[in-house]
Symmetry: C2
Subunit: 418 residues, 2 copies
Amino acid sequence: MEITAYVLNKAMEAKEGARAIARASSEQKNAALIKMAEVINKNAEQLQKENKKDLTAAKKKGLTKAMIDRLTLTAERIEEMSQGLIDIAHLPDPVGEVTRMWQRPNGMTIGKMRVPLGVIGIIYESRPNVTADATALCLKAGNAVILRGGSEAIHSNKAIVKILRGVAKKQGIHEGVITFLENTDRKAVMEMLKLEGVIDVVIPRGGEGLIRAVTENSRIPVLKHYKGVCHVFVDRDADLKMAEEICFNAKVQRPGTCNAMETMLVDEKAAKKFLPAITKRLKRAKVNIKGCARTKKIVPSVSEAKADDYHNEYVDLILNVKVVRDIDAAMDHIAEYSSAHTETIVTEDYGKAMRFLREVDSSSVFVNLSTRFSDGFQFGLGAEMGISTDKIHARGPMGLEELTCTKFIGLGNGQIRS
Amino acid sequence: MEITAYVLNKAMEAKEGARAIARASSEQKNAALIKMAEVINKNAEQLQKENKKDLTAAKKKGLTKAMIDRLTLTAERIEEMSQGLIDIAHLPDPVGEVTRMWQRPNGMTIGKMRVPLGVIGIIYESRPNVTADATALCLKAGNAVILRGGSEAIHSNKAIVKILRGVAKKQGIHEGVITFLENTDRKAVMEMLKLEGVIDVVIPRGGEGLIRAVTENSRIPVLKHYKGVCHVFVDRDADLKMAEEICFNAKVQRPGTCNAMETMLVDEKAAKKFLPAITKRLKRAKVNIKGCARTKKIVPSVSEAKADDYHNEYVDLILNVKVVRDIDAAMDHIAEYSSAHTETIVTEDYGKAMRFLREVDSSSVFVNLSTRFSDGFQFGLGAEMGISTDKIHARGPMGLEELTCTKFIGLGNGQIRS
């Protein structure tokens, strides 16, 4: 009961904040963001001191090196976090934008105007910079945010939130706009997910287990992606040198991310020429390659891919390689195994590029680009609130625009219906 | 178990249909719609014969006159249904539209492309024309539809679906695009609502009870509105003659609709002049007026409004009237009592018109227009799949655009991340 009341109170504070921030001017929001950036920089040492507490606890708990790395606030990362707020301040304000207007035969003008979503709940794991990024995106788009970070980052998150709320208060922004759940019990999340009508949307970020638990228990709409099983298809008409660079980059540049390539599909007409060079280079980079039977014929040293492997998100230096008959077979494979995150075709053929763009049903579809570009910063959205592989509301990286909706507006001079 | 398998089979057929129709050309879809319109007209007599069966059963069951009216397929309504298909064929195809493209510093081009949602389930009550409208909108937007009409319209719906599927087959369109649940058991709906991952979105249309049951039981995203408690605010700077026409139209022209006015808010500075004339006219039209204390002072003959009345969707010739201090008090009242459907301000003051448009958080917000214009046809969307008062994905009447999502596309020439 206590936790129910705690979460409800927090959410109601956010709801009040949402109504206030929806009406704030761009100037007021931008001034607050720039001030927040300044105060974060000024308090870098204090933030690192609080972060140390989390790092000590993490080491005690025996978290992996990768997790500890994600958790660490270096001076450089604090500077980046601060710069991120400034970048978002400089983006155009989506709220109030009229995306389209048209005249009707009776003289009235109908249009669509961007409006904030309201209260956005974000549930995330170890990276404390998400606290600042998510707050800035939500605030700029006229929303209140309820932040529910992981227990491993609790001291860092509290310190960041204290700064953000302190600045908000001084700048005349309702503090409920930045609402933080200090209770890191899983129960607090479950209570959040019941608050339909108070919280407007929930965005879970983290492991597949967390995301499934949120989706299954939420009465509030959820925007999410479960995983990223991304494909690159090397067409027979590809520039093979370009294909090699793209595939190598998509797998090796940062294999631990959701937009890294997990399966490389190679047109049978390109396989003999392409596979020996790329596999050699990947192996030198310590990539464990699992190939189909036809791949093994060309490069006998690769290990064997099982059918189930094609479903895997390795998030590691492991890669499936499959030789396919043509673009249709490649798209069939993608339709069956993709997680709808990001797929790339490498080709110089115009018709196949256009078909792939149009027919592949993933949230980001590329021609001649590394899958690693599927990211809000890379797309120029300023930052991202997460990535959606859903089809409702948002598909792909979510920036400011995806944190709004459009309402209809009508301008008349006395029209009535007959 | 049998019903589970029945619904799953139907949904899987729709899913196959969805994959096929997503790739169909505009020409192919339009040709099918125009042929469907033709065959519906040709079979008008047969449709009326089947409709008679429903009408006979309805009379036996003792359905209300209004319900029987909604159920009736007159020759004129069949002609309208047919014309609706032609109108939708003539609308631009949303699928494949690139809504925006921009360049990134590294030379790649990023854009957003409209894509179909997939499989759309629609759960509706007595009006058989929805069967044709919903099919046409879904098909044109590249989606498959699962139709679940009410038991009272079963013969009419089956006859319409038979025509639509027959034409689809002849025109080379996968029949799964038009999937109809003949089982009118409530259990069939419950089975539908479990099919997350097969059905992409569910749209319930009908009474509040049906919609709440669907929302509470669905694991699939739901787009809906519970009810329409629409307001007109007559500002002190209104053209009072215009205000009278708008208020009269909004209440009386068709009181049984969700976009009819339920509460009229009148600025205290306009009340003395405005109220006597409008109430006289409304009373002549047999409107039962419930007024606040200040309204009663000006027009003593009205009955008294209780606080709870302001929550009511009367869908009848009943109206709440409240005198408010100013635009702020009006917007506060709307924020508290509105169902976020449609609100209008009547004013000649530019600043207040702009404030109302921007600050009122409803799905349709008008200046100097009757609330009755809040409708897909009236907006020029061709038809509507329903109205959403949600903030996720769609807000307001849902036309073709709202039956799509956008994915990101990227065009490069070998860019990789460094």
